[in-house]
Point group: D2
Chain length 331, copies 4
């Protein structure tokens, strides 16, 4: 019996909610950005990337978000549509906001950084009124990015979406996705992310991200199993702790744990590893695969994305992922 | 067996959290405030009033809040201390904030209004760091005023306090206490108050306040019993719906309901009726009284306060309340 | 020949521009405000006080300002009207602003302090659109309070008013009236007040206020005569440096200077001394009196106001001022 | 005798003040930006462009401005240094600001638009303290961009710079450079730009820009000569009204006027026309050329820049400009 039950008779498999941004990746890699001169534009933002990953894998996906009322906003919406993602809940913000930008600098495979533009961004203008009950209840799963909690009114829109999802038995995935920009304090992050984690079925995050959620409420224990148990006391069924290059550990409410590893890769940059993992892992769970196989699928997907120049554009198909697994053998 | 169990071996009975303000009541009543010339100063703010009510009734009370670093802030702290309320968790805000003010205008017993000063107020500067686990866990009960959710960082401080209270088995009272000032939208109010209501043991509010909590998540049903059941599905044991001059109805998780009435009064103004009711009602519950007796005690207390010029200063002793009940007979 | 020429054929003598506030004076004097319980309400704010002073002296005065859309705003407008001041350019602000408040604490004649409420105040919402050319050009003189420069859009409204005044030969009085609240930095104060001082005919301020204007542009010289010459290089004809209890020195563009003294008073508090001086001094100039006589009239007026509990309410008539001069002899 | 006298014994010819930004020009031209994928990065912002133009022409230039504390800020500073521009008054802003961005879209030579990022930009964080008297007094001329007046504290820094320039006989050029972003209202723009125009020796702007300056103070007359006379009543000696493709008209305080024309160009985009004109025109005046020759030099420079893909990078040398004039004949 599966840990998580998806309502199979629903037309939409998956809804992403949160950040729709633009990545401007320096074309000249292995040098400081102050010396680069040209950039290529991609759709970016963790929930956008994960939703694109899932659509490439063949699931029917949609998105709840806001884009700016300009060329960048239109670029994003067109891109999602081209990928077959439903954009009927992607609203154009008319308040004069801009699209969030991430200029990426790749000095070396292990020395990458991002220059962010996060002031007055459209994605954080998402309002509770943009979250429609009829949209959510026709989906099997929804994924919340913690960054969407960074500011009002997007924060309130998230709480509304999570409550409607619970009300209609839509499986809630929560990717903590902590980015220090925009948040006022670490306490604020921990408190709001905890409120969503309590209502989530599956929680994904790094060790430091889970610590952030525990910090306001007592001394840190920094133990993956204790972390998982904290959330099992609420609604969680699966808690997955990511350890970067060291793989991941998934805990399930029935007391099991699964250690996932990584696949070899010719690493260009580490951006996108987590998003491609998440997309393929969720795809596995929604296919009814067991945890271990889903983790492996996620890891193989990540190995493809870190080997390429972009994130969203590089999201692989199921065949491409399977080819990696076949080549390297199951991990 | 009681619906609610208080940890009896704790030194502090009750903690109030939220607004500490000043009421400036026009001395010349029954005329428009533009024609009045003198004002008398009182401590005000719903959670302050309730905590003062409870201290007057003989319980050991404390407060978690912030006051301004000026004469008004010192006046409030001195007043609480004089009432025997513990102020070790009342912090002086050093950010240049001011004390919230409420100028009250009493044109007639039924035509009262308030002119509020709520910009840059000290009470909403309460931070998660002001909420100390060791303070909360030594108390039997805590009361959250919904107004403390109106703005960050006070909003985050509330969520931290509620989680620590649940962690340590401190009974959580939640008074919705909706005031339109400061809130950005009704959706925002409904969403955050719902998050606290879900974690509360006892919820007090008017019909319109409960509607506000339900509005973001579906069509309004405006039925007291359905409202109560909504919250019983979470942690609530008692839901009390106030109907102003028509009394109140208390629902309990075991399916019972109790209709409370009001006592005759020579009404000067209606301000303070809810706070005095809440203080005496909570006092009753903490004494182990049944719901009906607690409601009656609350109603008798309210009849005293609406007959006087102030709120906080007029909070009665248990003897004074009992005298009203004895005079008019149990209701 | 007079230094300053007023256009005599104009219907309005004087326009005040800027702050319209409320003073809440503790009735119990000679004790800290945290121990006082009752307050009396008066119209306050330096330009309001000066305009009231001038109206009491019998000149035809008007005001350009904004008041809050509440009982306090109405109280102010009614008070001005009762004093015979034209309020057709007093606009009611509909943005949800409040009236600025000054709670005054009088511990002793020499130890007075003010607790200010200056967040979101109506007076600083004055907009350029509120300043009408046809209103200004029918007046002989206008007085700008430096506090009206503390924030936009009031700051822009001042610049517009000053330019229209110069265009129509309306004499510009500038009272530096420095209050640290609201200003972001001392540089900001100095820079904007200097821009107005350059366009003013008569400038009034204390030594420290004039220093503030000079500070951004070079080392301080702190010499009254050099200060006066700085402004004579622009449009100023009279520069009056106030020295508190030591009187004042007025410099004129033709190279003269006049030292004014003070009158004995039974001082209750020092608030209002400067405003009453300014009102009576301007009245003298507008009557065509020489500088010395105007200074003396101002000083006598100040001696009356510091002996009373209020500022605006205590502004004397010409007869009352003359009686002081007659009693103590010319100074 | 020249209209304008430069203090010849000063080591620095010219200081630019204001915006230091980045242009991201779509490489794929003649299509909507939502369809372009790559961008090339250039230093941008009108005062940056003009200063670069002047440095290319061989004058000794410096800049007063703020850049962001990141790769974009360093790119700008390095670029200026490479061009031989003194950056000792270019400050790195540590407040978490970003570099302003202009994404340029070139659909056709006559259909160009800009997508601006102007929230929390470093250039508007310029403070009065960044403007040093010793830096200004060693220069012959300074140029103020009106955009630097759009927000505090940059606005105050401009007023300080202009006053120090006047104090030390540094010629003040004022380029109105109106951009609607950032300004709160058209009144605000007109009022602050007027305050600087009054103190400027040479004013450059389009007809609509001059209208903007006149609008708050009376009915528009929209007459170039009346406009010029307005400013001649203050400190202006030259007022140049730009008419886009129809050339420009320069008025001088001695009553003359000079009509300038344009040179033929293979127009790629119109961006940068005004900046290249201004740079070469100012260069002419500083060389002691007459107005007409300076206008011609400006127009020839503009014809070169509009024919290329960038603004700053395309600024020509004096030889390149002369070659255009020689080819087409004097206009």
């Amino acid at each position: 019996m599966s840990l998580i039950t998806f309502e199979l008779n629903r037309p939409m498999d998956f809804i992403g909610l949160g950040r729709l941004c633009i990545d401007l990746n320096a074309n000249e890699i292995h040098r400081p950005m102050e010396e680069t001169r040209t950039f290529t534009k991609y759709v970016g933002g963790s929930p956008a990337n994960i939703t694109i990953a899932i659509a490439r894998l063949g699931l029917k996906a949609g998105f709840i978000g806001r884009v700016s009322d300009d060329q960048h906003g239109r670029f994003i919406t067109h891109y999602l549509e081209k990928e077959g993602i439903d954009t009927t809940s992607v609203t154009t913000d008319r308040s004069g906001s801009v699209t969030g930008l991430a200029f990426t600098e790749i000095k070396s495979p292990t020395d990458c950084s991002i220059l962010m533009y996060r002031d007055n961004v459209a994605d954080l203008k998402l309002e509770p009124g943009d979250v429609r009950e009829e949209y959510i209840r026709q989906a099997k799963a929804i994924m919340i990015s913690g960054t969407a909690l960074a500011k009002s009114p997007s924060r309130e829109a998230v709480f509304k979406a999570v409550d409607l999802a619970r009300k209609h038995n839509v499986v809630v995935f929560f990717d903590i996705d902590y980015r220090p920009w925009t948040w006022t304090s670490r306490d604020e992050t921990g408190i709001y992310c905890s409120l969503v984690a309590e209502k989530s079925d599956v929680i994904l995050g790094g060790r430091e991200e889970f610590d952030l959620l525990e910090a306001p409420f007592g001394p840190l224990r920094q133990d993956d199993r204790l972390t998982a148990e904290r959330w099992f006391a609420h609604h969680a069924k699966i808690v997955l702790v990511k350890h970067g290059g060291d793989g991941s550990v998934a805990f399930t409410k029935d007391g099991q744990s699964f250690t996932g590893t990584t696949f070899p890769a010719n690493v260009v940059k580490t951006f996108g590893a987590g998003d491609s993992f998440a997309g393929a892992f969720i795809y596995g769970l929604m296919n009814g695969w067991d945890i271990a196989r889903s983790q492996q699928f996620g890891a193989a997907s990540a190995s493809i994305v870190v080997s390429s120049h972009s994130c969203s554009d590089a999201m692989p198909t199921a065949e491409q992922i399977q080819a990696v697994i076949d080549k390297h053998g199951s991990k």
